[in-house]
């Protein structure tokens, strides 16, 4: 039991390792922090399910450098993301944007929760 607890504690304390290489990083820590924030939310298209910041693939590396180049050129975070969305589509984003066509996707958890609550109420009412 104690071992289990220790293991869980260790898991909770671990951080995900970014694949960003030292040579890629920007001198300006504020810009680098923004680049990380953007890279965390970009999908590596050749690995799938992995963020651009977490992948050591050539594609992810290229995008990391591109994001940094554009930030250094003075682009806003939004402009950088929109630049990539224009080329790779919404699939480049790990988190799909809330739009009409993604509404069902975003509302599904709420719907399921609602259905579960209804089922619980129905059961409780029948028992009492």
């Amino acid at each position: 039991m104690r071992i289990c607890f220790l293991f869980l504690l260790l898991m909770a304390l671990s951080f995900s390792a970014a694949a960003v290489e030292p040579g890629e990083m920007l001198q300006d820590p504020a810009l680098e922090a923004r680049a990380r924030e953007i890279g965390k939310n970009l999908r590596c298209l050749v690995c799938q399910g992995e963020a651009v910041d977490d992948s050591s693939s050539d594609f992810a590396k290229g995008l990391r450098l591109l994001v940094r180049d554009r930030l250094e050129a003075g682009d806003t975070d939004e402009a950088v993301v929109n630049f990539l969305r224009g080329r790779y589509g919404d699939f480049i984003l790990l988190k799909p944007p809330v739009e009409n066509k993604t509404l069902l996707l975003w509302l599904t958890p709420l719907l399921v929760l609602g259905a579960g609550l209804c089922a619980v109420f129905a059961l409780v009412r029948r028992k009492t």
Partner: protein
């Protein structure tokens, strides 16, 4: 009431079966560039004796833009069919040489065939990124106004030529 879990299971299993056998390949990401004009670029020549190409070259007549690299194994398979498309359909085939070096490219083209009207050097891959490329090979069909009409991911096969490229190019020639 008792059958409900079974029903839910069958529904889920059916859904998964359909997606598994009929669904799209998740490795293929639909291009966001279809219907858009080609990005603005000007690529220097990748090899001696052949020109590079720029966005303005892709106007006036339908054309094919093929993203390739000498380190790309799948690219070896499509050189013959690209040559055939260029010849049979009377379209220029442009080679976008992705993250490569001139020496390796020249040797590779000699070995596997050179279907290209011009070969542009995109050493850093930035122009390819502008095209929304995420792997090699990728092949674009561009219409006479310079708009991207189709993107093929992976090596172009004879089947893809007959089924997709041929009818599309015939339509674009009208």
């Amino acid at each position: 009431m008792k059958q409900i879990p079974l029903l839910i299971f069958l529904l889920l299993a059916g859904f998964f079966a359909v997606v598994l056998f009929k669904g799209k390949d998740p490795a293929l990401v639909e291009s966001a560039m279809i219907g858009k004009p080609v990005p603005v670029f000007d690529l220097p020549p990748a090899i001696k004796g052949k020109k590079g190409f720029a966005s303005r070259d892709l106007q006036g007549t339908p054309s094919i833009v093929n993203v390739f690299a000498s380190w790309c194994v799948m690219c070896q398979l499509e050189q013959g069919i690209l040559e055939e498309i260029g010849r049979a359909e009377h379209v220029p085939v442009y080679g976008l040489n992705y993250k490569d070096t001139p020496e390796k490219t020249a040797a590779w083209l000699k070995k596997y065939g050179d279907p290209y009207t011009a070969v542009g050097d995109d050493r850093k891959g930035r122009v390819a990124t502008d095209w929304g490329v995420y792997g090699v090979p990728e092949t674009f069909v561009v219409d006479a106004r310079g708009f991207i009409r189709y993107k093929h991911i992976g090596a172009v096969t004879d089947g893809a030529y007959q089924k997709i490229f041929k009818p599309l190019l015939a339509e674009l020639r009208k």
